[in-house]
């Protein structure tokens, strides 16, 4: 499957494409696509900030924007790897199925529709229908989320329900952790000398 076939497949035939990616694991093209989408979104979003603000020059001083962008690239790759590793680990624990590298590739390609959101928003803003742009951008985000769940399902060979649960599990864990912390703090508070 060529890169064009893969990109086309992600849009119009995601399930077999993700199955192929999970099986073949083309890591380098995956990371390259992920990088291109990230950088492209960065440029478009910078344009959107300028276009959207009535007073374009009131955007923050851009001296450090490329330093932050560079750090953002590194951080996003780190988060991508961490997500793939963590979800694969959780899948191994709960469902005895793991495929971290396959999942990493699938998640890399799953961001492709996300590249459409900011340009559509940008185009809509140019045409004076920015509300439509926001909706389209939101739809692109939802599309990516759906593809990420599909990535989990296909890469880890899970059922849809299991994939959804696994996808939200890290978030749920954080919420429970925070609730636990709040509970502990609440229990400790009265013991402070008044």
């Amino acid at each position: 499957m060529s890169l064009i076939d893969t990109i086309y497949g992600i849009f119009f035939d995601p399930v077999p494409t993700l199955q192929y990616l999970a099986r073949e694991k083309p890591l380098l093209p995956g990371l390259l696509v992920y990088l291109v989408v990230f950088v492209f979104n960065l440029i478009i979003n910078r344009g959107l900030t300028t276009l959207d603000s009535e007073i374009a020059g009131f955007i923050p001083d851009g001296n450090f924007i490329w330093v932050f962008a560079g750090l953002g690239v590194i951080l996003s790759f780190f988060i991508l790897a961490l997500t793939a590793g963590l979800l694969s680990l959780l899948s191994e624990i709960f469902y005895q199925r793991g495929n971290a590298s396959g999942l990493l590739v699938c998640l890399s390609f799953a961001v492709i529709p996300g590249a459409l959101g900011p340009p559509l928003q940008y185009g809509a803003t140019l045409l004076g229908v920015s509300w439509l742009g926001v909706i389209l951008s939101l739809l692109a985000v939802i599309w990516v989320l759906v593809l990420q769940v599909l990535s989990l399902r296909e890469a880890l060979e899970l059922q849809t329900g299991q994939a959804v649960l696994l996808f939200i599990l890290p978030g749920l864990l954080v919420v429970f952790l925070l609730l636990g912390l709040i509970f502990i703090i609440a229990q400790t508070m009265p013991s402070f000398p008044g």
């Binding site: 064009i4 276009l51 007073i55 374009a56 020059g57 924007i65 459409l116 900011p118 940008y122 185009g123």
Partner: protein, 298 residues
């Protein structure tokens, strides 16, 4: 074939939007080109005035060259009908203020009204620039005034002595090392430098008298032009500013003065370009101040 066409069309769309985006960031005056035809140009003056671009450690510096370039753009462009100078500056080098002021005078000669909108602070050199506009609007709590000139030098002789540093000077004339930080200033040098400051102050006073002609009594002005600062409200009562209002009021004032009745656009003419933010590396080389230890400042 069909797949290639679909992916290709998507790529073309993305590249087109990317190019447009870069164009907008590089030339913000194109940002709202689909709305209105008359333009109110905004030129921002933020930070300490100087002739150098902001460095890594002085990101707030207002580069006079860039500001003058924006003023010239406003003068040349036929669609720019009025200009608002948004000043948020405590002043800076005397030359930077003077140069910007001269360029504003040229702009006004083209018949385009220039309105100053004062931000948090518009003092000293910032006020010099404001005096080169047709109308000055301040916020009630803006800090303004500080009409005066100052030159400072630091005598590091004591420190050098402690460190065992002795500067050897070879000079062509008696006063070539005037203001040197390695020795005590002589009475004659003090007199020379004071004369420079006084002359500069006289020029500042002349600029204010000219800019606020008919709005403030010259004798009253001399009484208050001792470097003190005022709030915008006090300055309005004294005649140092024309009225109180925020940024948008200043835009409206500029539109009215230019007789703009149709829908107009607001464009920041000296907004930072995409490429400017890429030259961080070249700016980083200026971590240490490159100017002399003493400068004439407003």
């Amino acid at each position: 074939m069909r797949k290639g066409l679909v992916v290709g069309l998507m790529l073309v769309f993305l590249v087109l939007m990317g190019v447009l985006s870069i164009r907008v960031v590089n030339k913000p005056d194109n940002a709202t080109s689909l709305r209105g035809s008359a333009v109110v140009g905004v030129i921002e003056i933020n930070g300490v005035l100087g002739g150098e671009a902001a460095s890594l450690l002085t990101t707030s510096a207002a580069d006079s060259n860039r500001i003058m370039k924006a003023i010239r753009t406003a003068a040349k462009r036929p669609d720019v009908k009025a200009v608002v100078i948004r000043i948020n500056s405590p002043g800076g080098t005397a030359v930077a203020a003077q140069e910007i002021g001269i360029e504003l005078e040229k702009l006004r000669k083209t018949g385009k009204p220039v309105v100053t909108s004062m931000g948090d602070i518009c003092a000293s050199g910032g006020y010099w620039i404001a005096c080169s506009s047709d109308y000055i609007m301040a916020n009630g709590t803006t800090l303004t005034g500080s009409i005066g000139a100052i030159m400072e030098t630091t005598n590091l002789q004591g420190l050098y002595d402690k460190l065992g540093i002795r500067q050897e000077v070879f000079k062509s004339g008696e006063h070539k090392d005037i203001g040197s930080s390695s020795r005590e200033i002589t009475p004659q040098e003090r007199e020379i430098l004071q004369a420079v400051v006084s002359d500069s102050y006289t020029q500042f006073l002349k600029q204010v008298k000219q800019g606020r002609k008919g709005k403030i009594d010259p004798r009253e002005l001399e009484d208050i032009a001792d470097g003190r600062v005022f709030t915008g409200e006090t300055a309005a009562q004294m005649g140092l500013v024309d009225s109180l209002g925020n940024y948008y009021d200043a835009i409206k004032q500029a539109q009215e003065m230019a007789g703009i009745t149709e829908e107009s656009r607001i464009e920041v003419l000296n907004a930072e370009k995409l490429w400017d933010s890429l030259i961080l590396g070249t700016r980083a080389s200026r971590l240490l101040p490159t100017q002399n230890l003493w400068q004439l400042k407003y």
